[in-house]
Every structure is written in structure tokens, then in C-alpha cells.
């Protein structure tokens, strides 16, 4: 089986990832709901994962895919911890609006 990238081209994947990554960044900036912000970060991580796989194919190398596993583990851990923090914020403030987190400033 030939390299699929011959059909699509690595650039296309790069652009896709970049745009996905930027959408993630946009989400982080655009929304005040912490959960959506988390989701945006997940989008960013996924954009990278996608690119990893593309590069893995590009290099015909398994390591890229292996790295995606680690990346997933990290994402999972982050989400777990993030949600735990979020819950305690919600418990104390009754809201998960990140714009309300303005006690610390100056």
C-alpha cells in the first residue's frame, strides 16, 4: 500500500491542524464558560495529535503514533485535574465563568 500522503499532501494536514489549533485558541479567548475553554484546549491537543499521525505516516514511523498515546494520557490527566479544580471553583463561586475570577490582580 502506498503512502496516503501522495494523495493528500502533508501540507493539507498541516493547514488543517493549524486551523484546528487556531480554532482552539480562538475558543479559549472567545468563551467565558470554563468548560468550553477546556473543550477548546482539547481541540488544540487533538489538532496536534492529528498532525502527529500525519507526520508518523509521512516518516513511515511508529513513534509518532506512540507519542499520541502519551498525549492522550496527558489530556486525560489534565482534564481530570482541570475538572476537579473547576468543581471546587463552582462550589465556592457558584459559577464557572472565568471572567469572574478577578480576585487576584494588580
Amino acid at each position: 500500500m502506498g503512502n496516503i500522503l501522495n494523495e493528500i499532501g502533508i501540507e493539507n494536514y498541516i493547514f488543517l491542524s493549524v486551523l484546528l489549533f487556531c480554532i482552539g485558541v480562538f475558543g479559549v479567548l472567545y468563551r467565558r464558560n470554563a468548560i468550553i475553554v477546556f473543550m477548546s484546549i482539547e481541540i488544540m491537543l487533538n489538532a496536534v495529535n492529528l498532525l502527529f499521525v500525519a507526520f508518523s505516516t509521512y516518516h513511515q514511523d511508529a513513534e509518532g503514533q506512540v507519542f499520541v498515546f502519551f498525549s492522550m494520557a496527558v489530556a486525560a490527566a489534565e482534564v481530570a485535574v482541570g475538572l476537579a479544580i473547576l468543581v471546587s471553583v463552582f462550589r465556592n463561586l457558584g459559577s464557572i465563568d472565568i471572567d469572574n475570577l478577578k480576585n487576584l490582580k494588580g
Binding site: V28, L29, I98, D99, K102
Partner: protein, 627 residues
């Protein structure tokens, strides 16, 4: 042996000073005074010894005590030079000094700080000796400043009176102005000649003059002369001397009449080889001297404080001496210094005796008729007055006449002005005598009841000085010019003797007549018309200007003292805080930025991310897109 004697000569008054400082309070007043006097007498006797020795072999005696300062290419030693000039000065400094010490024992007997008085006096004599015997300019400078210090201490002796302290301060500071000039003069010489030893300077100056260094020499001479104006109270630095009368009268006699103020003349005479080569400076000296003589005499005409009159008279006489110096007649100037020392000391001591008798009264308007009560004082003062007025055959006649004669030969204008000053001198001196001793007493009843002649310790010095004032002229009579010969080794330049021709006799006659005119005028005004000077606020017109000393003090205050003080206030209140603010402003700027920055740090995660992303974009753009 000689060296030890010289050191003893120098240190003897210092020992007296130390004794009086540390033990003066513990011993009786009389004892402390006696010690003070004796130490000076020792110096006097030693001076006489040296004088005798010098007369025998005619060789100057110079030695170095120890290395002192090393600057530039030369080492300064602490050296002593005993030659004709310094021994001459030593003689009358220690001689008159001894007399005045003696006088002071009695005069100051009532003062609680008498031991200090003697300490200061001894210290003064010590410094004066240092000034005189120093073998280089800098050792002389020690004495020069030292006597200034003692002058300061003694003028402000009655320290509880702040006016006296002001006078003392003024004296010291004005002296220091001159001292700076002197110092600069020393620098110029030192830089150009690499030496400031008197003996080496002579040759050096001549050599330098030949190699085209006249310009430097002129500046040096001018600066030295500025130094002299400070110490010898010449225009423009003379105003301290009348104020210095705040000190006890013996001080005025010793320091401000006989010895310290002649230091300028001593210095110029010492450096005569320099001044001889700088005729321009000599002209300046002559002119300044003459103007000083005239101005001071004019002010003296209307003063009412007995000591102030004498003070201005001193200034005036010093002016005459500078005239002589300016004309290159150093020997004449020295001659007048000596005679002046005799009669002026006598006059001051006499006035002290009067003041003593009147328990501190100094205003002549409140005196009068003291002739009867204080005969010795009167007669001695009368002799001295005749001497200062230039009446034949008293000492002053000879010396003053020499000056006028020299002036006549050199420059007629100066001669006329100097003559006028002499006439004025005769006038105000007799005015003083008339107001003080003649007619009836104008003081209070109580004073009148206590009028008495002063004790013998006071009168003995008066008598001795009066005698000297009478015969002192003998040392340099026309025709028998001992002093001129004596000073020949010192005075390198040629000095023509005034042959007593008809011109000279005529000049003597004119001078004598002038003096008599002055006396007569005074007589007619104060004896015949029985005029008593008005109180201060009644004086009007030009005489008010004169009475107020031509407002010179006020002028100095307005042009120098006040601006400096104003400047000081300005610096203190405006410039210093402003400078300080400049430094603080850096801090303020930082603080201001900090306040602004805190607004940016507003706690908003969105903003943080925003800046974060902008930062990333900027870096990436700069690295990969921007060319």
C-alpha cells in the same frame, strides 16, 4: 649653641602660652601675667644678643629645624633665618611686646580670664616671631596665619558680646582674603622657581626676570601685595582694623598698631628684590598706600571713639609706609614702622590708661580735662602725638619726612596727597588730645569722682615708649643713616641717600608747617570754639558720610556678604531640594509606571491569553516572516 638659643627665642613665648593654658587658672593672676611677661622678655633679651652678634660679624644666621612639607620638586624645611631684617623686627616685636605684657598685668587684672589673655598674647608673640624668623615663605605663612588667629582670639576676647565676636570674625575672614592672595603668590613663585626659600628666591627671581618671566613675577608680586593689604589693612581690605578695636586695649596696641599690621611691610621688604623688578606693581602699591593714607585720615577726622581715631590713624600711617614701599624706599618704610611702633603703641596704651581710668568709656565726647587727673598719661600721649604729627625733633618727624621727601622726588602728586594726609593726621590727633585732656570733664559725676592716674605698671611702659618716641628718630637721622647701612645686605637695590640740600630743608619746613597748621586748626576749633562733636544723629551732609566711614562697610555688605548669603539661602532652600527631587524623580517615574502597569494586570485570563498569543505571533512573525 646659636641654634639652641634661636629655638629658645622662638619657643619661649610658646612655653608661656602652654603654661598659661594649662596652669594659668590654678595660679594667681599676677603669677600668670608675670610668667607671660617673662617669657617674652627672655625672647627680647635673646634678640638683643643676636643683634649684638650680628653687629659684630654682620653674617646672617640660617638653619633648618626639620623637613616639613614636600611638594613638587622641592622640599620645604622648617627653617629659621636670622638676618638684619628679622632681628630688627624681633627687637621691636619682643621689646614692645614685653612692655605691653607688663602693661597688661595691671590693665587686665580685673578680668576673670586673665590667664587666657596672657596665653593668647604669648601665642601671638610666638607666631609673630615665627613670621619674622621663617626662612621661607611658608614658615612665614604659618606665623602670618597664626597672628591672624591670635588677633581673632583677642578681638573676641570678651566673647559674651556677639558684636565683638562679629568683629573678630570679620578680622579673621578679611585677613584670609589677603592670605589667599599671599598663598597664590607663593604658588606662582614656587611653580616658576621651585623654591620659596628667601635666600634662594633672590637669585631665582633675578634669573627668571632675565629669561622673560617678568609677567609671572608681576602676578606674584601683585598677589603678595594683596596678602599684605589684608594683614596691613590697606584698601580694599582695611575695614577690619577699626572694628578690631573691640579687643582689649593692650591688644590694639600690640597687634593692631605696633606689630601684626606691619607684617605686610615686613613681607614686602623681605621680598624687595621681587618688587624692585616689577615697577608696575610698585606703582600700584604706592597709589594704594597713598589713597589709604588719605581716606583713613579723612575718616579719622570725625571719629569720636578714642580707639577708632587711633585705628584710622594706624591705617593712614600704614598707607604712608606702603607709599614708601611702592617708591622702593624700603629702608624708609622700615624706619617709619619702627618709629610708628613706638608712638602708636604709646598712644594706644595711653588711651587704654584713659579708658581704664574712666572704667571702660571710649567716647571722646564724654571725656575732657583729664590732663590734671592723669598727668603721666597726658604727657606721654602728648609726646607721642607730637611725634605722629611730625613735629621736630620727635621720632615721627624724621621718618615721615623721609617718606614725603622720597615721594617728592619720585612723584609730586603722591607727595601732595601724602602731605594732605599728614596735615589731617596732625589735626585729628590734636583733636583727640584736646577733646580728651583739655577743658572740663564731660562724663558722669561718678566717673569724675573716681578719676585717677593709672598704676605704675601701666605708666612705666608709657614712659619708656614716650622716651623712645622722642629719640627713636636717631637711628636714621639724615646724615647719620645707621639704619640704611644696617639694612644694606637685605636691600639689594640701590638706595640714594637724600643729601641734605636746600630742597630737603625746604620740604622739612613745609612738612613742619603743615603739621602746625593742622594743630592750629584743631586748636581753634576744639579749644577756642570749644566745639564738642555732635551726637550721632545730628551729623549731616558730607561729614555724615565721613563719620560713617564712607559707607565702605555697608558697601561690602551689600555687594559681597549679602549676595553670598542670599545665594546660600537660594541654594539651601531651592537648589538643594530641586537637585534632590531630580534624584527622587527617577523613583517617581518607576512608581508611576508601576501604577499604570498594575491596571494592565487586571486579573482577566482572557487578557493574559490575548497578550500571550500576541506575543507568540510577534515572535513567529519576527523570526519567520519579517525579512
Amino acid at each position: 649653641m646659636e641654634m639652641n638659643l634661636a629655638i629658645l627665642l622662638l619657643l619661649s613665648p610658646f612655653v608661656g602660652f602652654l603654661f598659661n593654658v594649662f596652669f594659668g587658672k590654678k595660679v594667681s593672676k599676677g603669677f600668670s601675667g608675670t610668667i607671660g611677661t617673662l617669657t617674652v622678655v627672655v625672647s627680647f633679651l635673646l634678640s638683643v644678643c643676636f643683634f649684638a652678634q650680628l653687629n659684630q660679624n654682620g653674617k646672617a644666621f640660617e638653619f633648618s629645624l626639620f623637613d616639613w612639607i614636600q611638594v613638587g620638586n622641592f622640599k620645604l624645611n622648617f627653617g629659621i633665618l636670622l638676618d638684619q631684617l628679622s632681628i630688627l623686627w624681633l627687637l621691636f616685636v619682643t621689646g614692645i611686646g614685653s612692655l605691653i605684657h607688663l602693661y597688661s598685668i595691671s590693665y587686665m587684672h580685673d578680668d576673670e580670664n586673665m590667664h587666657k589673655f596672657f596665653a593668647y598674647l604669648n601665642l601671638f608673640v610666638f607666631f609673630m616671631i615665627t613670621l619674622v624668623v621663617g626662612s621661607n615663605l611658608l614658615v612665614m605663612f604659618i606665623g602670618w596665619e597664626g597672628v591672624g588667629l591670635c588677633s581673632y582670639l583677642l578681638i573676641g576676647f570678651w566673647y559674651k558680646n556677639q558684636d565683638y565676636n562679629d568683629a573678630a570674625k570679620k578680622a579673621f575672614i578679611m585677613n584670609r582674603v589677603g592670605d589667599l592672595g599671599l598663598l597664590i603668590g607663593i604658588f606662582i613663585l614656587a611653580i616658576n622657581l621651585d623654591t620659596i626659600n628667601f635666600t634662594d628666591l633672590n637669585a631665582g627671581v633675578v634669573a627668571l626676570n632675565k629669561t622673560g618671566g617678568n609677567q609671572a613675577l608681576q602676578w606674584a608680586a601683585l598677589c603678595l601685595f594683596i596678602g599684605a593689604t589684608g594683614k596691613s589693612a590697606q584698601i580694599p581690605l582695611y575695614t577690619w582694623l577699626p572694628d578690631a578695636m573691640a579687643g582689649p586695649t593692650p591688644v590694639s596696641a600690640l597687634i593692631h598698631a605696633a606689630t601684626m599690621v606691619t607684617a605686610g611691610i615686613f613681607m614686602v621688604t623681605r621680598m624687595n628684590f621681587l618688587f624692585d623688578l616689577t615697577p608696575n606693581v610698585q606703582h600700584v602699591i604706592a597709589i594704594i598706600g597713598t589713597i589709604t593714607a588719605l581716606v583713613a585720615a579723612a575718616i579719622g577726622l570725625l571719629q569720636n571713639d578714642i580707639k577708632k581715631v587711633l585705628a584710622y590713624s594706624t591705617v593712614s600711617q600704614l598707607g604712608l609706609m606702603f607709599l614708601a614701599l611702592g617708591l622702593g624706599a624700603y629702608n624708609v618704610a622700615v624706619f617709619h614702622v619702627i618709629t610708628h611702633a613706638f608712638f602708636k603703641a604709646c598712644l594706644f596704651l595711653g588711651s587704654g590708661s584713659v579708658i581704664h581710668g574712666l572704667h571702660g568709656e571710649q567716647d571722646m565726647r564724654k571725656m575732657g580735662g583729664l590732663r590734671k587727673a592723669m598727668p603721666i598719661t597726658f604727657w606721654t600721649m602728648m609726646i607721642s602725638t607730637l611725634a605722629i604729627a611730625g613735629i621736630f625733633p620727635f621720632a615721627g618727624f624724621w621718618s615721615k619726612d623721609e617718606i614725603l621727601m622720597t615721594a617728592f622726588h619720585e612723584n609730586k602728586t603722591l607727595w601732595i596727597v601724602a602731605s594732605i594726609a599728614s596735615i589731617m593726621t596732625a589735626f585729628y590727633m590734636f583733636r583727640l588730645m584736646y577733646l580728651t585732656f583739655f577743658r572740663e570733664f564731660r562724663g558722669t559725676e561718678e566717673q569724675k569722682n573716681h578719676l585717677h592716674e593709672s598704676p605704675s605698671l601701666i605708666t612705666i611702659p608709657l614712659v619708656i615708649l614716650a622716651v623712645l618716641a622722642t629719640i627713636g628718630g636717631a637711628i636714621n637721622l639724615p646724615g647719620s643713616t645707621w639704619l640704611n647701612h644696617y639694612l644694606e645686605p637685605i636691600l639689594a637695590g640701590k638706595h640714594e641717600e637724600h643729601h641734605l640740600g636746600s630742597t630737603e630743608y625746604m620740604l622739612m619746613g613745609i612738612a613742619l608747617v603743615g603739621a602746625i597748621i593742622g594743630i592750629v586748626l584743631a586748636y581753634s576749633k576744639y579749644i577756642k570754639q570749644a566745639f564738642v562733636p555732635k551726637t550721632d544723629n545730628e551729623i549731616v551732609g558730607f561729614s555724615k558720610t565721613i563719620y560713617n566711614k564712607f559707607y565702605v562697610d555697608e558697601l561690602y555688605t551689600a555687594t559681597i556678604v549679602k549676595p553670598i548669603n542670599a545665594l546660600s539661602n537660594f541654594f539651601r532652600t531651592t537648589l538643594e531640594p530641586a537637585l534632590s527631587k531630580v534624584v527622587f524623580s527617577f523613583g517617581s517615574v518607576a512608581y508611576g509606571l508601576s501604577s499604570q502597569g498594575r491596571k494592565l494586570q487586571n486579573g482577566n485570563i482572557g487578557l493574559y491569553l490575548f497578550v500571550f498569543v500576541i506575543g507568540i505571533c510577534a515572535i513567529i512573525t519576527y523570526l519567520f516572516i519579517a525579512q
